[in-house]
Symmetry: C2
Subunit: 141 residues, 2 copies
């Protein structure tokens, strides 16, 4: 059970931008060097995040990327979800057709709830929360 490396890197990149001045654009080259994320891979990650509206990008000389919103208005879920293609914990939750096994459905009810619980945490935690040290997040301390 793990997130894709893209999602992992995506968080690192967004966190990096969130800690920098918001009124500049940052080239992939710069971000790649600072975070040690392979540049070409990072490019693909940003393309995804641009499409999903978390990141703004600017072509041409002096171009680069910046956060589309301030860190307090970006949730972890908004960064992770577009970078994690397959989000169902078990097969039943990924496939459209309903499962033939009744015993597995007991399991899938449980997985569905557990997964929802997980997503609720991602939805209710912002990038700003993470930077501030995560005192109050994850629903318990």
């Amino acid at each position: 059970m793990k997130l894709t490396q893209g999602a992992d890197y995506g968080m690192a990149a967004v966190l990096y931008l969130s800690q920098k001045s918001e009124d500049r654009r940052y080239s992939l080259d710069e971000i790649s060097r600072a975070t040690e994320i392979p540049e070409e891979f990072l490019r693909k990650i940003f393309q995804t995040l641009v499409k999903s509206g978390v990141i703004n990008s600017f072509k041409g000389r002096g171009g680069g990327v910046s956060l589309a919103r301030s860190a307090k208005d970006i949730t972890v879920a908004e960064v992770i979800k577009p970078l994690e293609e397959e989000m169902g914990l078990v097969r039943c939750l990924r496939e459209k057709e309903d499962c033939p096994r009744s015993s597995e459905c007991m399991a899938s009810n449980f997985w569905r709830k557990t997964q929802q619980n997980f997503f609720e945490i991602l939805n209710s935690t912002t990038i700003k929360d993470l930077i501030e040290g995560g005192k109050q997040n994850a629903r318990k301390d």
Copy 2:
């Protein structure tokens, strides 16, 4: 983000056994047919669960498998963990060495907590809970 198919099947198989009479042994052939889990794959799954102490197995004629304990004393975690080899949500949580990126460590604190929260649900839910319909599990309803 998904569990391995082995873990998914493992739950189905344990659930199947939990709904059957406890004083018998069940052959893999029988379980495989009832649950539609490929027999050879199921065999490997049970080998793992035997090692971890959730399942008892008996060789030879009249052999087969059975639950090592009653369903109310087996947690979901006990079934899933041995079948999920890599349990760290992100690289930082899987690797031993500490990460060089300070920004990612903010993220890894968050992932660590979120993951713990997830495991606590698995630890506090028994197979019996699932069979009874999961009214009270997943920490919220």
